[in-house]
Structures are given as C-alpha cells and as structure tokens.
C-alpha cells in the first residue's frame, strides 16, 4: 500500500497540532486535516473568498501582516455565530455555518480553522484537580505531571498579569477569607492568577514612551484574546498561544508535518487485518470549497476533531458499536455572576473609578474550589459581555421574576429593555465571573446522530446535556461564593445569570479513556485509531479548563503511539 503519510491527524484545534509536533520531532511523517480556514498563511491570502492552495508545510508561509488584517478585533466580524471568522463553518462566509441540532436552548461555541477553538479561547491553562483524577481516572495524576510540565514549558504558561479587574477580584477573594494559592496542583480552595498560555507583557509596558511600534513580544493588555490575538513580532511569537501560533509553527519546523485546511473528514477507512483485526488505514474527506471527495491512507489515524465531531465521525463511519461512543458528555454547566460597583468604592480599592472589563487578558484571575469547580473572572468587549451576562438565561425575563430579598443577588433572570440599557451603562464598573461546575459524567448526556438533519458531511450531531441535581446544587454554591466575593469587595448590585445548560464551551468526555479507548488513547475496537481531543478525557477534571490536560494527554499519546507502531 502507498501511504500519504505515516499518521493522519483529523483536526488542527487544541489537541491535533500537539500530536503533530511531537511526532514530527521524532521523524514521523504527518498529514493534518482541518475542516476550516487557515488565517495568517501566505498560501491563503484571502482565506474566506478563495480556495487557495491545497496545503502548507513550511513555517515560512506564516505571515503576521495577513493575520493582523484578518483578525480585526471586531466582535461581529470575528465571533458572530453565523458569519464570524471564528464560527463552526466552512471558510466561505457566504455559506451558512455547519448545523448542529440541540434539544434545548443554547449553542455549541466552537471554531473551525487551524487553531480550532483555541483561536478564540482565553489561554487559561490550569491543570486538572488531582481530586478528580486520582482513583477516578484509569491513570493516576502523577502520570500526567511530566506531560503537563512539557506543555507548560512549550506553550509557555505563565501567571497572568493584573489589571484593574483582577485586582478587584483578588481584593474580594481576600476579604471573603480565601488564601492565595501558588501551586499548579490545587487541592484546596483559594485564589490565584490564571495560569495562562499568554506571553507576559514587556516590563516597560506602563512607560508612556515605550515603543510599541517595534512590535515587542508579549501581551499588550488590550483585551482581545477572544477576538483573535495577533500581537507580537511574528506569527510564532504572537502573545496568546493558540495552537495556530504555538504548536502549529513548531510542528511545521520539524519539516515532517503538512497541514491541509478546508478538508472535512467524513469517514474513517478501516480494513480487517488477519493479525490485528479491525484497524484504521485512512480517512475519506471532502474539500469544503470544491465539494469533491477523496481519501488519504496512513499507518495510523488520530481523531482530534473535538468532543462533538469525533463521536459523530465514529458513528458516521459505522465503526463498531460501543455503548459509550458519544456518551458521558460533561460541559462544566456554566453560569455567570457579576457585580456593579460605585465609583467611590472603586476609587478606594483601585485608586481609579473603573474596573474596565475591556482591559487586560480576558480571563486572568480565578478562585479554585476543588469539589465544586471554580470561578473564572472575565472581561470582554461589550457585545460578548452583554450576551454572556444578560441574555443567556434558563428562566424568564427579570421583570417577570419576583425578587427574593433573602437571595444574595439583586437581579436574577434575563435583563431586558430599560434595565438592560441601565446595566450596560454601568459596563465599565462591572466585574464578572463565570462559574465552572465540577459536573458528573452521565451517559444520558450525549452526542448522537440526528435522525432528520443531514448536511454534506452526513447526519449532523444531535447534542443533549442536562445537569444532575447535584450539578445544580454545585452551581448554586459557586454562585453564592461569587456573590459573597463581590459583596465583600463592595459591589452595590449583584447579578446572577442562570445559563441554559445548552451553552457548549467545554464539551468533554464523549469518547472516554477506559470505555472507548485504552489508557494509551487507542480505540479498543479499532487498532491504529487514536483520540487526542477533549472527548477522550475521563471526566470534567473537577471543573478546570480542559485544554492543558488535553494537550498533556496528546503529548503522552504521541509517545505511546510511536512506541507501539514506529519504534
């Protein structure tokens, strides 16, 4: 058989490029297939208008000038769910996004494109809580530590810098009695700077004469992590370490990795081998510009298409029945709490009358609470800020909700009308936090194939997640903790947003290690088929953001894969 590569990796998001870089460094030839466009690459000067080249395999193709023009810092241009550059859809923005069906209000918030959802992630890179791994996962926490260390050094990960919003959050956390945590391995409650995959600002950043025109390396505290970072002297030195700017350039530098954007994997090709049994031998794909189908052959296939598309691809490939494929979805059952502050309170604490949610890294402070989850302080440009805080609600409009003076929040329910405009007029004096719940794995929460809707890539994913009673109680406790922190900091009004459970930001566990794969992340039922995305995580990590753990596990999977098939 002639092979197109030793290993095909499906997906250039948070996990795939990590495997590509690790394999490339060992001399394994890799082909990465990515469904979406490639921004900041000379081979696609107009990535949303023209099909451009077929693939790129050279770091010389990366171009900061293009990236700067393409990442415009505008929210609708970048993050509109339907037409934004960071949407789940084809490169051609004149075409509709790829549809996923939900049986509930909400939306899956994922991006296609080289970099995947790390294109708009906030760089938060905490480790899992050991409490959620030891004696729970099929591998112990200590097994992950060397891989965490390798990823933390490679990205790299640093304690996030403080601006006003972080200083205010820490002030409240201290007043509420929590200790500062300095460890990467959190075992008890406390606050700390986010471990962020963002290059620290130049130490001269506060100097008014500092020559930013020279494009120094490092974050400039401009608050556009979510709208696409392009700050730095070159693509590979861009401040926010999306895989587009970290693992992808490193993978290309090995000279062994080719990445093919605009290529949607539609089927895993298998054969029955007399010794190995059923095994993966390639991938069928569809070119998203021409609509043509083709296939590539390889010795090993790695699925890294994310916790929604990886099980969809398994199911659409009619791979063997496994009752856990697609099952066990967790999503950190998000919620949101905010506080509005008076000018004089802010003056006393910060020496300035505003908290300014648009300044600084989008999320740079956290309060960890193993057993419950964590609070992630955040600030955003106003469109996304208003959306996350005031429109996402399980319940009804605020004015239809009777306020309960015994509750620690003043506003509960969707803000609308004059109230919404009043609240947004307080934007610059609002401090907000997301609630990340340590939610339980439940096989009733799942990705299946939609029986009705089908797109050009087959039946679309049908997504369902509903939190358990215990998950709801944990969210409620986290909301009370957040309200307490904000009240202690001096907030005059507290807002609680009970998001519908169908807002999918941290989808995980739909192809779990120990159920669908072995501890090397190779599928039990299909040899030479590995998984390297959030789907293979055993659980929701106790609440922490999943990217770092997925990247650590992907590093380990690359090692295991080489030992098994290429040594």
């Amino acid at each position: 058989m002639t092979y197109d590569a030793d290993v095909i990796i499906i997906g250039a998001g948070g996990g795939g490029p990590v495997v590509a870089k690790e394999l490339g460094e060992i001399g394994v030839k890799v082909l990465v297939l990515e469904a979406g466009p490639w921004y900041g690459n000379k081979k696609w000067p107009n990535p949303n208008r023209e099909s451009g080249a077929a693939s790129s395999s050279s770091v010389e193709d990366l171009d900061l000038g293009l990236l700067t023009n393409q990442f415009t810092d505008y929210e609708a241009d970048m993050n509109d769910w339907i037409t934004g550059k960071f949407r789940w859809g084809p490169a051609d923005r004149n075409r509709d996004p790829w549809f996923r069906n939900l049986f509930q209000a909400g939306f899956p918030w994922q991006c296609s494109g080289v970099g995947g959802t790390t294109l708009h992630y906030w760089g938060n890179s905490p480790r899992a809580y050991s409490l959620a791994v030891d004696n729970v996962w099929p591998i112990p926490y200590r097994e992950l530590i060397p891989y965490y260390q390798k990823v933390e050094a490679t990205l790299p990960v640093h304690p996030a810098p403080m601006t006003t919003k972080e200083e205010l959050f820490f002030y409240g956390a201290r007043k509420a009695g929590y200790p500062l945590l300095s460890t990467l391995n959190v075992t008890s409650p406390g606050y700390r700077p986010q471990p962020n995959a963002i290059l620290p600002p130049d130490p001269r950043i506060n100097d008014p004469d500092f020559p930013f025109g020279e494009k120094p390396a490092g974050c400039t505290l401009r608050g556009h992590c979510v709208n696409g970072c392009h700050i730095g002297p070159s693509v590979e030195k861009v401040a926010k370490r999306s895989t587009l700017c970290s693992y992808v350039p490193l993978a290309l530098k090995t000279g062994m990795v080719k990445i093919r954007p605009n290529t949607f994997a539609t089927r895993i090709i298998t054969e029955n081998h007399p010794q190995e049994g059923l095994r993966a031998i390639g991938v069928q794909f569809r070119d998203t510009w021409s609509g043509e189908f083709g296939d590539f052959k390889a010795k090993v296939v790695v699925m890294a298409a994310g916790a929604i598309e990886t099980p969809r691809l398994w199911l659409n490939s009619a791979l063997p029945l496994n009752p856990w494929v697609g099952k066990g979805l967790t999503n950190h059952f998000f919620g949101c709490v905010a506080g509005i502050f008076d000018e004089n309170v802010l003056m006393n604490i910060l020496g300035t009358p505003e908290a300014n949610p648009f300044v600084g890294q989008n999320s740079a402070a956290r309060l960890d609470y193993p057993g419950l989850g964590f609070l992630g302080n955040f600030g955003l440009s106003p469109g996304l800020f208003a959306t996350l805080l005031y429109t996402l609600r399980e319940g009804s409009y605020n004015f239809l909700h009777k306020s309960d003076p015994k509750e620690p929040w003043d506003i509960y329910g969707k803000a609308v009308g004059e109230k919404l405009k009043y609240l947004m007029s307080q934007y610059r004096r609002t401090l907000s936090t997301l609630l990340f719940v340590d939610d339980e794995v439940n096989p009733q929460n799942m990705i299946t194939l939609d029986p009705v809707f089908k797109d050009e890539h087959g039946p679309v994913p049908l997504i369902h997640y509903s939190p358990s009673q215990k998950d709801k109680e944990k969210q409620d406790q986290l909301a009370r903790i957040a309200a307490d922190v904000f009240r202690k900091a001096g907030a005059k009004e507290i807002i609680r947003a009970d998001w519908p459970p169908g807002v999918y930001i941290h989808s995980q566990n739909t192809m779990r290690m120990g159920y669908v794969t072995d501890t090397n992340c190779e599928a039990y039922q299909v040899k030479r088929l590995f998984i390297a995305d959030n789907s293979v995580l055993f659980n929701g990590l106790g609440g922490p953001n999943p990217t770092l753990t997925t990247q650590a596990l992907a590093t380990r999977t690359a090692e295991k894969l080489v030992n098994r098939y290429f040594s």
């Binding site: 996004p97 648009f358 009308g417 004059e418």
Partner: protein, 188 residues
Amino acid sequence: MYHTPKVRVTLGALVDAIIPNTPLLAFEQGAIQAVGGLYSHIDEYLIWSLDHFYFNLTLASPIAELLDIAASQLIAIGVAGEILDPVAFSNGNSFNALSQKDRLKAINLLPFPYQNNPVFIQIIADALDRFTVFGYYSEWSGYGVTRFTPFEERKLEDIPVSWKQVRYPGKAYRYHALRGYLLDKFTE
C-alpha cells in the same frame, strides 16, 4: 433579503422591546442614552440572522407570524395590559400593538400556543434575545451603509451608538495598565 413590511414591523417591535428608546435614562445619564436598537437598524441584523442560523430554514417570516399569534393569545387570555395601537391590531400586527413589556410577556409565553415543540420555541426565544443584544453592542451597526456589502468590503464608518452608551473606547493596540503580578511563578 426580501421581507414583507409585516415581518419587518413585527421583528422591529421585538427589537424595540429588548433595546428600547430610553428617555428616562437619557435624562439621568445624558442624551446619548435615548436611542435604542431600531436607531441602529438591529431589526435588519435580527432578520438576517434568523434567516441563516437554523439549518437551511429561513425563519424570520414564520417567527414574525408566531409572535403575532402569541400576542393575540396574550390579548385573548387577558394577560396583556392594553392594546396600544388598535390600527396595528386590526391590521393583524398584534405583536406591534402591545406595549413593550407585553411583547416580552408574549415571547415568554411562546410555548403556549405551540406546545407540540416547546424545545424549538425555547431555541427561538434564546436566539431572539441573543442576536438582538449581540448585534446591538457589537460593532455591526457601525458598518453603516456597508453593513450588507460582502464581508471584506465592510468598513466601520461610525462609532456604534451602543459603544458611546457603555463608554467602550473601541479597539486599542495596548493599554499602559499593568498592575504587577500576584505571583512570579507557580510552584509544583
């Protein structure tokens, strides 16, 4: 994008309820707070979004119809305060005939006449709020006359009025805003 005046009137009435003109807020905080979503053409943004967000169905027109039916139900069951615009009501624009608060109540009761698929109604109710608010507070209205030109040709012609209302300064290359570090590095 072609829609009947009725669709535009009904979805415009929705935008006007979610992000209304607010003279009182303007009185308290300054004239810039007076205008709302219709001034920024968010009805157009909403209609376009509703026609493109759900598989390949164009939903603006059926949703407008649904809002009018829900409004009629609200009137029929006696929940609506009063019909503010009898002419609109007699023309079949029941939703537009209601007060802003009653329009929102109608959305809240949406599953009521459509009990065979309450989940779909929830998805729509969520989309109505989310698209309207995101459209309004994002840069979209600033594209002015280029707002429906091909994406690459859009230009930010004006500062969106919403940005002025929330005092968002727009994009910046950097802020001299560093307040130090709580930790220099993490420990194992």
